[in-house]
C-alpha cells in the first residue's frame, strides 16, 4: 500500500477524508445553529468527549448501537440545556462557561473511564458499513461513497436538512433574527431565550453525536482525549464556512483532507520529515484558514452578547 502511485491511492484518501470530516460536519453544523442564534459555545470539545464516552459505555453494556446513539443524543440534550441555562438564563460569560465545559468533559470522562473501564476488554461493536451488492464494488465511487458506514453517509442528509431548516422554515427566520438583532425579534414576539435554548441544544446534541461517531463508528473503543481538538477545529470550521451549512460541509471536508493526509503520510516508510510535523498539520491548517478569512465579517451581529430585554 505504501509505495503505490498517488492516483491509485486517491480513492482511499478521499474515502478517508470523508470519514475524518464526519465528526467535524456534525459538530460544526450543530455549532452553526448555536452561533446563528447568537450564542458562542466553545465547550464543544468537552461535549464531544461526553458523547463519545456515553455512546461507548452504552454499547458496551447493551451491545445495541441504537441505544448507544440514543444515549449520546440524550447526553447532548442535557448538556445543551445546562449550557443554555448558564449562558442564556443566568447570562454568565459564554467563553468562561465553554472553558468549564471542556474541563468537565475531560475530567469526568477521564474519571469515569478509569474508574469503570480501565483494564477490561473494551472493544465494542461498531456502526455497520453500507453494503449494496453492485454499487459497493464499483471501482472508485464504490470505495468513496458506497463502502462508508451509515453515520458518514448520514452527513449527506444532514446538510440539506440544516439548510432547509435555516432558510425555508419560519424557525430558521427566528434563529437568524435572534442572532442578528435580538431586540427586533423580541418586539415581534419571538422568544429570544427560547430560540437560543433551541440553538444551543441542537448544537450540543449534534456535537455529542459527533463524539459518538468517534467511539462506535470510526473506531471501536474509547480512549482518553480521543477528540484531539476536533471540538476546537469545529469552531474554526464554522468561521471558515461563513456560518452556512454548505460552506461548513466543504470546510469540514477540507480539514478532513489534512487529517487523512497526516495518517497516510505517517505510514510511508521513507519519510524525511519527522512524523510530528505531519501530526501538526490539521492545527496549522486551522490557523491558516482563520487568517485567510480575515475576521468575522459574516458573523451574526449579536454573537456572544447576552440579551437583556
Amino acid at each position: 500500500m505504501e509505495s503505490l502511485p498517488f492516483f491509485v491511492m486517491l480513492p482511499a484518501i478521499l474515502a478517508a477524508t470523508w470519514r475524518m470530516a464526519t465528526p467535524l460536519i456534525y459538530a460544526s453544523i450543530g455549532e452553526l445553529f448555536t452561533e446563528r442564534t447568537g450564542v458562542l459555545n466553545i465547550g464543544l470539545e468537552g461535549i464531544m468527549l461526553f458523547g463519545a464516552f456515553t455512546a461507548f459505555a452504552a454499547v458496551l453494556f447493551t451491545d445495541n448501537l441504537i441505544i448507544g446513539i440514543a444515549a449520546a443524543i440524550l447526553v447532548g440534550i442535557l448538556l445543551g440545556l445546562l449550557f443554555a441555562l448558564f449562558t442564556v438564563t443566568i447570562k454568565a460569560n459564554q467563553i468562561v462557561v465553554g472553558v468549564a465545559f471542556n474541563l468537565l468533559g475531560l475530567g469526568m470522562t477521564g474519571f469515569l473511564f478509569r474508574a469503570l473501564f480501565v483494564g477490561t476488554d473494551n472493544a465494542v461493536r461498531t456502526v455497520p458499513v453500507l453494503n449494496i451488492p453492485v454499487l459497493s464494488d464499483l471501482p472508485i465511487i464504490g470505495e468513496i461513497v458506497f463502502r462508508q458506514n451509515l453515520m458518514v453517509l448520514a452527513t449527506l442528509i444532514l446538510v440539506p436538512v440544516a439548510s432547509f431548516l435555516l432558510y425555508k422554515v419560519a424557525f430558521g427566520l427566528s434563529v437568524r433574527s435572534v442572532g442578528e438583532h435580538p431586540k427586533a425579534a423580541d418586539t415581534v414576539g419571538i422568544g429570544v431565550a427560547r430560540t437560543r435554548y433551541a440553538g444551543v441544544i441542537i448544537g450540543a446534541t449534534l456535537t455529542a453525536v459527533a463524539g459518538a461517531y468517534l467511539t462506535i463508528a470510526h473506531t471501536n473503543q474509547f480512549v482518553e482525549g480521543i477528540t484531539s481538538g476536533r471540538g476546537f477545529i469545529a469552531l474554526a470550521v464554522v468561521v471558515f464556512g461563513r456560518w452556512r451549512p454548505k460552506g461548513v460541509f466543504w470546510a469540514s471536508i477540507l480539514f478532513g483532507v489534512f487529517f487523512a493526509l497526516q495518517l497516510r503520510l505517517q505510514a510511508m516508510p521513507d519519510l524525511i520529515i519527522p512524523y510530528q510535523a505531519l501530526q501538526m498539520l490539521p492545527y496549522v491548517a486551522t490557523i491558516v484558514a482563520l487568517l485567510s478569512v480575515r475576521g468575522k465579517t459574516h458573523a451574526p451581529s449579536a454573537l456572544a452578547v447576552p440579551y437583556e430585554p
Binding site: I90, A92, N93, V96
Partner: protein
C-alpha cells in the same frame, strides 16, 4: 467578562436629587464589596465541592472519605504543605499573567502552549549554556523562558490584530503545535541519550534554583511567583499602562477615543501573560524538574485559567487561588492512592469551580455594579 450595558434613554433620571436616586443607588458599602470579593469565591468553591461530592457518590465512592484524604494530602504536615506551595508556584505565575490578559478581554487559552515553549527555551539555556556561572545563568534561563512564552503568545495576538482571527481558536491550535514540537525535541534532537527515555539531559548545577527550606524541595521560585503577582497587580491597577489595558478590555472604541492604541495593547497583554507562563515553565525546569520531558505540564495552562477566574482576574487574588488549586492537585494524588479515586477528577472539579465563579460573578455585578 461581559458587562450589561445600561441604555440611557430608558432609565435616565432627572438631575434633581430625589429619594429614588439614593434608593436604588448603587453605592456599595465596604462590607458588601468585601463580602463579594472574598466570601464569593469561597462559596463558589464549596458549591463545586458539593456537586462533585454528589458525582462521586453516584459513582460509588465515599465523598467524605475522599475529601478527608484530599485535605490530608494538602495540609497534612509541613512537607506536604511545601509540596502544595511547589505545585502552586507555576499556577500563581500563569494565573497572575492571565489576569492581565483577561482584563483586556482577550481570551488567551494558550497558556499551556506558552508554557511549553518557555520550557524548551529555558531548558536549552540550562543545558547548553551550563558552563556559565549561576549568577548569569539563572537570570538568563528565566529570561529565555519568559521570552519564549511571550513570543508564542504574541504570535496569536498578532493573528488577532492583523487578521482578526479569534484568539480562542488560534491559541488552542498553538497549544497543540507547541506540545507536538516539544515531543519531537525530547525524543529527537534534545534527547539525553539515544534510545533511552524521552527526556532531555539535566540542566547544569548552576542553573538550579536555590532551595531555601531544606529538607523540603521548596525553592525560591515560589518567592519569585509571589513577587511577580504583586508586580502585576501594581501594573494593572496603579500604572498608566494597566489603565490602558483595562480600558481596552472594557471598550475598544472608548479606548481608541482616549488615544490608546488598541492593537499595541492587545499585543502587550498577550506578551505579559505569555511571558508569565514562560517564566512559570523556566521556574519549573530550573527549580523542580531540572530537565525537559514530554508531560512537563500536567495541564497547568488550563488550571491557570481557573486560578485567574476564581481570583476575579486580580493578580493578588491569584496568589490565594493558585495555592488553592495547588492544594487540590497535591491532595488529588493522595486521594488517588488512599481512596482509589482517579486524580483526573480534579480536572472536573476545576470545571465546576469555574462554573460556580461565573455564576456568582453575574450576581455580584448585579448587586455591586462592578
Amino acid at each position: 467578562m461581559a458587562e450589561p450595558s445600561t441604555s440611557s434613554s430608558e432609565t435616565a433620571v432627572t438631575s434633581t436629587t430625589s429619594a429614588e436616586e439614593l434608593l436604588g443607588h448603587k453605592e456599595t458599602s465596604r462590607l458588601s464589596k468585601f463580602l463579594w470579593g472574598v466570601v464569593g469565591p469561597i462559596a463558589a468553591i464549596l458549591v463545586a465541592f458539593l456537586v462533585s461530592g454528589i458525582i462521586l457518590l453516584m459513582a460509588g465512592y465515599n465523598p467524605v472519605f475522599a475529601y478527608i484524604t484530599l485535605l490530608e494530602g494538602a495540609f497534612g504536615d509541613m512537607r506536604v504543605i511545601t509540596e502544595v506551595l511547589l505545585q502552586a508556584t507555576p499556577l500563581i505565575l500563569i494565573g497572575a499573567g492571565l489576569c492581565v490578559v483577561f482584563r483586556a478581554n482577550i481570551w488567551n487559552i494558550g497558556a499551556e502552549g506558552q508554557f511549553y515553549i518557555g520550557a524548551v527555551l529555558s531548558a536549552v539555556v540550562g543545558i547548553y549554556l551550563g558552563d556559565l556561572p549561576a549568577i548569569i545563568l539563572i537570570p538568563l534561563l528565566l529570561l529565555a523562558g519568559m521570552l519564549g512564552g511571550a513570543l508564542w503568545a504574541m504570535l496569536a495576538g498578532w493573528f488577532k490584530v492583523r487578521f482578526g482571527a479569534s484568539e480562542i481558536v488560534t491559541t488552542i491550535m498553538l497549544n497543540y503545535i507547541a506540545i507536538i514540537s516539544t515531543g519531537y525535541l525530547v525524543t529527537g534532537p534534545m534527547i539525553e541519550e539515544v534510545g533511552k527515555f524521552p527526556q532531555t539531559a539535566q540542566v547544569a548545577e548552576a542553573a538550579r534554583l536555590f532551595r531555601f527550606l531544606p529538607p523540603t524541595r521548596l525553592h525560591i521560585g515560589f518567592i519569585i511567583a509571589i513577587l511577580v503577582a504583586i508586580l502585576l497587580w501594581v501594573f494593572l491597577f496603579k500604572s498608566s499602562m494597566g489603565f490602558a489595558i483595562r480600558a481596552v478590555g472594557h471598550s475598544p472604541e472608548a479606548a481608541s477615543y482616549a488615544g490608546i492604541d488598541v492593537g499595541r495593547n492587545v499585543l502587550l497583554a498577550m506578551a505579559i501573560s505569555g511571558g508569565a507562563a514562560g517564566l512559570a515553565a523556566a521556574v519549573q525546569v530550573s527549580g523542580l524538574t531540572f530537565r525537559l520531558y514530554q508531560q512537563i505540564s500536567p495541564g497547568y495552562g488550563f488550571t491557570g485559567i481557573a486560578v485567574a477566574l476564581l481570583a476575579y482576574n486580580n493578580p493578588l487574588g491569584a496568589i490565594f487561588s493558585g495555592i488553592l488549586f495547588g492544594a487540590l492537585r497535591s491532595g488529588a494524588e493522595v486521594m488517588q492512592i488512599s481512596a482509589g479515586i482517579p486524580s483526573v477528577m480534579v480536572v472536573a472539579i476545576q470545571g465546576l469551580v469555574i462554573l460556580s465563579v461565573a455564576t456568582f460573578s453575574v450576581y455580584r455585578m448585579k448587586y455591586t455594579s462592578r
